[in-house]
């Protein structure tokens, strides 16, 4: 089968969706998204935690909810997409057009001739292998994202006693997810003297559950036979070399690696583009275009973004620039391109411990609270009134949104992501989870459906944050 389109978008995750939407709104008629999964949304589908969309939508959404907003836009736009479709090749033709080769079950090999192409394949995790951690290679060693898929999409536990290597956001998020689903997270080890994750994640994923964060530590040996039985954790010196004599054996059945992401550029290489040796990302111009070819890149395939809102912003630029290329044959000078994250608000030990990190937005203001003689609380360090409200609430009665899953009968996935409709007292988190243990819903379910009313007497409902179809 052969298709002729204006723009082919490779990958239907957050970058691809936003790029397609913006290109459509800029006037391009014929856009086709090629997605390898059975649904649009990419990695957001398994990121069931909240914290997405504060910049884009000025509200806090879970990953699937954020994806859903863009999937709806795409449908309203009338953008075409193909699911379960894997792109295997990308060629630049002599006449300037591009041919994307893909395949799927129903059509076999597909050729898509496009005037412009948007690369939005995302990234992959670095694995244990690339860290060269010595030891055995038994079952129980996963990247954090693989564990996230097992737990959040399949409703299965990849382990019960967990050590997490790397304190990037996925690692921190998985510390909470594993804990909420019944595992014991022994510790998170981080080779650097500071965490790579957002402060809010340190607070809500580790401190809430008393999970130790071992900075300047790393796993130096993995033990066990068929299954992991434990790890040796060592302190590292200023050159990040393990310090002899600092070894500590930690019993565990699972090691999760959250040690960085690498842009996924197999397809980019097929068109003959060069990659940056260090970052593995394609070299693009200010307009996100590779070598004036009409091929644009955006999102994590280009550089790893801390938050999805920045991916969206960059993808919107890529979509607009690709639209210019299609409609006017060129991208005007001064077009918008790369969206770099502001300096990341990381957790600094010793400095941040006495202070409270506001988690109302990614700013992560450091708040101090003083109780006056008259009993009133004085908050400092906040950039906006939400910070003050947060500090008061944290000081008196901390509240949390619970995000988790419930089991699904006859669905396209075995788990449905859910959240509490409003914040609940922090100490009620585990009680709510217990109340959900035996809850099983029948597919189909849609985002926003109420799953359990007034969960554990909190006054908050459990609502679906994603959709699941009948098998």
């Amino acid at each position: 089968m052969t298709y002729d389109v204006d723009i082919a978008v490779i990958g239907g995750g957050p970058a691809g969706l936003a790029a397609a939407d913006s290109a459509k709104k800029a006037g391009v008629k014929n856009i086709l998204i090629l997605e390898r999964d059975f649904r649009l949304g990419g990695i957001l589908n398994q990121c069931i935690h909240n914290g997405f969309g504060l910049h884009t939508f000025k509200e806090e959404l879970t990953g699937p909810e954020y994806a859903d907003r863009y999937i709806k836009k795409i449908r309203e736009d009338g953008v075409d997409y193909m699911l379960d479709t894997m792109v295997t090749d990308l060629k630049l033709n002599d006449d300037g057009s591009k041919t994307v080769t893909a395949m799927n079950r129903t059509e076999g090999i597909i050729k898509v001739n496009a005037k412009a192409v948007i690369l939005s394949m995302g990234c992959r995790e670095r694995a244990r292998g690339s860290m060269n951690t010595p030891g055995f290679r038994g079952a129980g060693i996963y990247s954090a994202g693989t564990a996230q898929l097992f737990v959040n999409i399949n409703g299965k536990m990849p382990g019960r006693q967990v050590v997490i290597v790397g304190s990037g956001d996925i690692g921190l998020i998985m510390a909470r997810r594993m804990t909420l689903e019944g595992a014991k997270v022994k510790m998170v080890v981080e080779i650097m003297p500071h965490s790579g994750g957002l402060k809010r994640n340190i607070v809500q994923c580790l401190q809430d559950f008393g999970i130790p964060l071992r900075l300047s530590h790393t796993v130096t040996d993995i033990r066990g036979g068929k299954r992991v039985e434990g790890v040796v954790v060592s302190r590292v010196d200023d050159d990040l070399r393990p310090v002899e004599g600092s070894e500590e054996y930690v019993e565990c059945d699972t090691v999760l690696y959250s040690v960085g992401l690498i842009p996924e550029n197999e397809i980019t290489l097929k068109m003959g583009a060069k990659l940056d040796e260090r970052t593995n990302a394609p070299l693009v111009g200010d307009d996100l275009q590779i070598d004036s070819s009409g091929v644009f890149a955006c999102g994590n395939v280009l550089h790893v973004h801390d938050i999805v809102d920045h991916v969206t912003e960059e993808a919107v630029n890529a979509g607009e620039n690709a639209a210019s290329f299609v409609l006017y044959g060129k991208v005007s000078k001064g077009a918008k391109g790369l969206v770099e994250s502001a300096e990341k608000n990381v957790y600094v030990p010793g400095v941040d411990e006495d202070k409270m990190t506001c988690v109302r937005c990614p700013n992560g203001c450091l708040l101090s609270v003083e109780k006056g003689t008259d009993g009133t609380l004085k908050v400092t360090g906040n950039l906006c009134p939400r910070g003050e409200a947060y500090a008061v609430s944290e000081f008196t009665a901390p509240m949390r949104t619970l995000t988790t899953t419930v089991r699904v009968k006859n669905g396209t996935t075995k788990a449905l992501p859910v959240k509490t409709s409003a914040d609940i007292p922090k100490e009620k988190l585990l009680e709510c989870i217990r109340a959900l243990t035996d809850v099983e819903v029948a597919a189909p379910k849609r985002t926003g459906d109420i799953i359990v009313k007034n969960i554990a007497d909190t006054g908050s409902d459990i609502i679906a944050t994603g959709s699941v179809d009948n098998v």
């Binding site: 390898r36 379960d84 894997m86 295997t88 080769t101 395949m103 799927n104 079950r105 076999g108 090999i109 992959r124 995790e125 694995a127 244990r128 292998g129 690339s130 060269n132 010595p134 030891g135 290679r137 038994g138 079952a139 996963y142 990247s143 994202g145 693989t146 898929l149 097992f150 737990v151 999409i153 399949n154 409703g155 299965k156 536990m157 990849p158 382990g159 019960r160 689903e181 019944g182 595992a183 130096t220 040996d221 993995i222 036979g225 068929k226 299954r227 393990p242 059945d253 699972t254 690498i262 996924e264 197999e266 290489l269 988790t404 899953t405 089991r407 788990a415 989870i433 959900l436 243990t437």
Partner: protein, 478 residues
């Protein structure tokens, strides 16, 4: 009563099983692991050695040269990846030239064809990325690459098709010879046979010593390796050896038959026969020694590391033949390097020994050839189209890094001696072999295994019992 019991389903056991199945007889292979190719056969250099290294007159030399000559033809008959890329033994600046010359002479005596000592200019012409410090090299044009997994699997599959029975998860715990026959106790059952062939790898001394009065002793030598991303697989074309030492052939750097780059092995005597763990020192040694052969070995491109154990017998040579005290017990032990290269020749030779002791007519329906699982990654577009047309599952990509489809995985599970574990799938069709090291595909492969084998996902293992990949379902342990 079985005619022949083979202990061990590694490359040697599989090669012998296949050769034995040419005659009309019953053959049973007992394997303690859950799949073929789970021991030394799965963790080695994947090199078909020319045969210059072993001392003339040894069994190692004899079977290496013979096996190496058989390998290319066998790769066509049984459809496994083989590539003759040639080897170079490098002589660094300051090293003793006589060592290289001695190797050359040894090779000539062993009957290795095409050997040549080449100078720096010729060397750099053949291998532009060779380390600048290298002055001379021994060129071994017969050196080749093979996929050790698919070689073993192909041999075993073909044996199974020709009537050989394989029992997995069946560890031999005792052997007795009574009334001219063997009683073999394994996996809680008793088996009996007229002949026993000991191909138990690093455990071959344990097996031997169960029944033979004259003891042998194996002390494994561990070899650690680093495997690099395919993007740097073409940094070199030839297999680059450093000069051999008493412990082994030294650290080599080689492309693999699948297009990765690999460096290793170390050589460390270990006492534990399950010590297939890597160590910080070992991996550092591999990268450091490897960089003596290649200009700028790309350490950042390592995708995984692993270790294997070579079954070093204290006598230093292969032990192949009927035990002089226990008639009918045939040792194939001490098979360390160049065991992989030698395996096809050992198979023919050992089957010959059995045939002399026990003459049988040819198996009439012997299937000589075997066809492997088609590879979408290696197929041209027309072939891909045809495969998808025959079975749409060949369009469903499961492993992105290596482009492995559901169709290939189902084939790997359904064929004779099919995969039952994640590692089994990985070794047969390479799902999980790539740069993400199964991060994306392992949950999907587990689901396919679960569906095709009719067992729950909780029962799916990485490599047999005790290596279950899941620990129950969410929320059920709070």
């Amino acid at each position: 009563m079985t005619d022949v019991i083979i202990i061990g389903a590694g490359v040697v056991g599989a090669a012998i099983a296949r050769e034995l199945s040419r005659k009309d007889r019953s053959v049973l292979v007992l394997e303690k692991n859950s799949d073929v190719c789970e021991g030394t056969s799965k963790a080695n250099s994947g090199i078909v050695h020319g045969g210059y290294d072993a001392m003339p007159g040894t069994k190692k030399a004899f079977f290496n040269v013979k096996g190496s000559l058989m390998m290319e033809e066998l790769s066509k008959t049984l459809d496994f990846p083989y590539k003759r890329n040639g080897s170079l033994v490098l002589l660094p600046d300051g090293a003793d030239e006589e060592t290289l010359d001695a190797l050359f002479q040894r090779g000539l005596k062993n009957g290795v064809k095409g050997l040549e000592i080449i100078d720096r200019d010729r060397l750099h012409e053949l291998e532009p990325n060779v380390n600048d410090s290298v002055r001379k090299a021994l060129y071994v044009p017969t050196g080749a690459l093979v996929c050790p997994f698919l070689l073993t699997i192909a041999l075993a599959e073909n044996a199974a098709v020709n009537g050989v029975e394989f029992r997995f998860d069946t560890e031999v715990t005792d052997i007795r010879k009574e009334d001219g026959a063997f009683r073999v106790f394994a996996g809680g059952e008793e088996y009996s046979s007229r002949y026993v062939i000991n191909a138990a790898g690093v455990y071959a001394d344990v097996i031997h010593n169960m029944v033979c009065p004259q003891k042998i002793a194996i002390r494994p030598v561990r070899g650690q390796y680093c495997l690099f991303d395919r993007t740097v697989g073409s940094v070199i074309k030839h297999t680059l050896f450093s000069l051999p030492t008493a412990m082994g052939k030294g650290v080599l750097v080689t492309p693999t038959v699948h297009g990765n780059l690999m460096a290793g092995p170390t050589a460390e005597a270990v006492d534990d026969r399950e010590a297939t763990n890597t160590t910080a020192v070992g991996l550092e040694t591999v990268l450091q020694k490897g960089s003596l052969s290649v200009n700028s070995l790309p350490g950042r491109k390592v995708i995984t590391s692993f270790a294997g154990l070579r079954a070093r017998e204290k006598g230093g040579d292969f032990i192949i033949g009927e035990d002089r005290n226990v008639p009918g017990f045939i040792d194939v032990s001490g098979i360390e390097s160049p065991g992989l290269s030698a395996a096809p020749a050992i198979g023919v030779h050992v089957a010959g020994l059995v045939n002399e002791l026990d003459q049988r007519p040819d198996r009439k329906d012997f299937a000589e050839t075997r066809k492997g699982t088609p590879s979408m990654a290696n197929a041209d577009e027309k072939t891909r189209q045809r495969l998808i047309k025959e079975n749409p599952a060949f369009a469903n990509v499961i492993c992105r890094c290596e482009l492995v489809t559901e169709g290939e995985i189902i084939d790997a599970i359904k064929r004779p001696l099919g995969a039952r574990t994640l590692d089994g799938v990985k070794r047969r069709v390479r799902a999980g072999m790539g740069r993400c090291q199964a991060g994306f595909c392992s949950p999907k492969v587990a689901q396919i295994l679960s569906r095709e084998l009719g067992i729950s996902e909780e029962e799916i293992t990485k490599s047999g019992k005790g290596s279950e990949i899941l620990k129950g379902i969410a929320k059920h342990d709070i």
